[in-house]
């Protein structure tokens, strides 16, 4: 193949062999995906969001297909951080997976509790604080909708987490200014930003005359949201260049299905790219997208991923 240097920064101390990750909630804890793609071939695997306690998630129906996208309303189903650390993480480490653990809580202290539990755990290369899940009962609890809440939560996670583990903040596009939220998160010590979470959406079933999802609203994902995601990455990277947001790596995601899509995010400013909804359609996509991205870089005479990061901003 080509001789492109695909190494990607995860944080100031951590460099990954390649930029491809999975989007939280789209790859479980890796066991099912591993049957299609060796997890060690990914830059990182981002887990389904884990809370400190067991959570059932929402009732069904939890899903609706939409044009070039889908709505999900899972509601953070999971067995809790202890179960993850005892039963899932050792297996992941055994596979050679580099794990970005997505965590959440309903309160800042719960985020911190989950982060602390991951201290020194083998296999964990970083933490993603999911401060933006739309499938929670109280929209006021979406920390990433408010700069001071986002600051407080990211600060608590950074303080509680292993210093060797970079902390990413996952942001929602459903805000007036994602740049303000990004600034708050990096001020709070975020080592990276994951952009974007799903957009809040809903479908009304024209036959039953009622909302399609049991949870009424859900998160919209898939290629339908890609332009929104690219815009968010571009805006935040531009603010980093301008010095109004501290410069940290961006993990870009939102409807990536090909290497060309991934390149779009990289050119906008992403150092890493995460695959989400595409995994439901094509679970072997991570290997394919990585190869396609590498070829796409080579075709454009880049010799490293690093050179292409934020390239769309140059000359502007």
């Amino acid at each position: 193949m080509s001789n492109i240097d695909m190494s990607a920064p995860l944080g100031s101390h951590v460099t990954l062999p390649n930029p491809v990750s999975t989007a939280s909630g789209c790859a479980g804890y890796g066991r099912e995906l591993h049957r299609f793609v060796p997890l060690s071939s990914l830059g990182t695997i981002t887990t389904k969001t884990i809370m400190p306690y067991v959570r059932s998630g929402r009732p069904t129906p939890r899903m609706a297909e939409t044009p070039s996208g889908m709505l999900n309303s899972i509601g953070l189903q999971g067995s809790g951080i202890d179960h993850f650390v005892e039963h899932e993480l050792p297996w992941l480490a055994e596979q050679g997976a580099r794990v970005l653990v997505s965590i959440a809580g309903e309160r800042t202290e719960e985020f911190a509790e989950a982060a602390a539990r991951l201290k020194g755990q083998p296999g964990v290369v970083g933490i993603e604080a999911n401060i933006s899940c739309p499938n929670v009962a109280n929209r006021g609890l979406v920390f990433a909708c408010d700069a001071s809440s986002a600051y407080e939560t990211v600060r608590a996670v950074r303080d509680a987490a292993d210093p060797a583990q970079p902390v990413y903040a996952k942001l929602t596009p459903d805000v007036t200014s994602i740049v303000d939220i990004a600034a708050a998160c990096t001020q709070a010590g975020a080592d990276g930003l994951s952009m974007i979470n799903t957009l809040l959406g809903m479908v009304v079933d024209a036959d039953t005359l009622r909302p399609r999802l049991a949870g009424t609203t859900g998160g919209l994902s898939g290629p339908a949201i890609r332009p929104v995601a690219v815009r968010c990455v571009y805006q935040v990277y531009a603010a980093m260049r301008a010095g109004s947001v501290r410069k940290v790596p961006i993990l870009g995601m939102g409807g990536i299905t090909s290497g060309r899509d991934a390149l779009e995010f990289v050119l906008a400013g992403a150092s890493g790219v995460a695959l989400g909804t595409v995994l439901f359609n094509d679970p072997s996509a991570p290997v394919r997208v990585l190869e396609e991205l590498e070829s796409a870089l080579a075709e454009r005479d880049f010799t490293s991923l690093q050179q292409a990061i934020g390239f769309a901003h140059t000359g502007n």
Binding site: V54, G57, P59, S68, L141
Partner: protein
């Protein structure tokens, strides 16, 4: 014919959940069968040899740039290990199945199979009644053959809304004289539901197993009757899935575990075949009492920061 071929396979591998394979599968046949479509796919691998009755396949619709991202899951009607092919039966009822039906022989579709937990098969001879609604019968004929192969006896109860929605009455009659057919409108067989002839069929065969596939209210009613007559109830659910492989978490049902605790279990991995007595049918679509972790869904559980 399938029977002889499948007999040469290891019988011990049948209960386990095999590793699924993703492949581009060529369409060998695609044709209407009554109200349904029959689709034969060349798997180009040993997929067919790993299929047990109750396994399903998940197809991507329309290629890489399709606006339909979610896989469509179909139970596997037949597997021919010799030819390396599998046969699916589907109904056109949405955009995805409509697009699938518009394919031509020679086209390729992205296939993942085999998936899911199949019907359990006991090693020795048993008497079993196989109950299905509509094309839910698709996996039942292969299952019947395997039960017969083990020296067992089978009876069929097949039902549908109307005659054109029945699938496989002839296939059932070729396997056993014990076949009851019902339609809601009486256009074929006896007017009524599959649950009407079921008690008589269980008694007639002395059945200890009832295998069923169809809509949830049917599976619930079948389980109640099977249990009342002392038979085990193995139910294959038809839940909507986004991926079919266990990562999307959309196809969950409240299922009682061995420890007595109810959890949301995935129909694609823990199922599609469940012990019908363990599924809390009446609670599907809710957060029922006793569901593990349901308390965490209450926004008032903790003070808002």
């Amino acid at each position: 014919m399938d029977r002889e071929i499948q007999r040469s396979e290891s019988p011990l591998s049948r209960q386990s959940r095999p590793t699924p394979t993703q492949s581009s599968a060529e369409i060998l046949a695609l044709e209407p069968v009554g109200a349904y479509h029959r689709l034969v796919l060349d798997t180009g691998s040993d997929v067919a040899a790993r299929v047990s009755p109750g396994h399903f396949a998940a197809l991507a619709i329309g290629g890489r740039d399709s606006s339909m991202l979610l896989r469509r899951a179909f139970s596997i009607h037949r597997a021919d290990p010799g030819a390396g092919s599998i046969e699916l039966v589907f109904a056109v009822h949405g955009r995805g199945t409509k697009a699938l039906a518009a394919h031509h022989v020679g086209d390729s579709v992205d296939l993942i199979a085999p998936l899911g937990t199949p019907f359990p098969l006991s090693g020795g001879p048993v008497a079993a009644v196989l109950v299905a609604g509509g094309y839910g019968s698709a996996p039942m004929f292969g299952l019947a053959e395997q039960i017969l192969d083990r020296g067992g006896r089978v009876g069929f109860v097949l039902g549908a809304a109307s005659a054109d929605k029945l699938f496989g009455v002839g296939l059932a009659r070729a396997l056993t004289p014990h076949v009851a057919v019902t339609t809601d409108d009486g256009s074929y067989g006896s007017k009524g539901r599959v649950t009407d002839p079921l008690p008589g069929m269980i008694r007639e065969l002395g059945a200890t197993e009832v295998h069923s596939c169809g809509p949830m209210p049917m599976l619930r009613a079948v389980t109640e009757i099977a249990t009342a007559y002392g038979a085990r109830s193995h139910t294959a659910v038809e839940e909507a899935m986004a991926c079919g492989i266990g990562i999307c978490m959309t196809c969950v049902l409240p299922v009682v575990g061995e420890d007595g605790v109810t959890r949301f279990e995935r129909s694609c991995t823990a199922g599609p075949v469940f012990d019908g007595t363990k599924v809390r049918w009446e609670d599907a679509g809710t957060l029922p009492a006793g569901l593990e972790g349901a308390d965490a869904m209450n926004p008032h559980r903790v003070p808002a920061r």
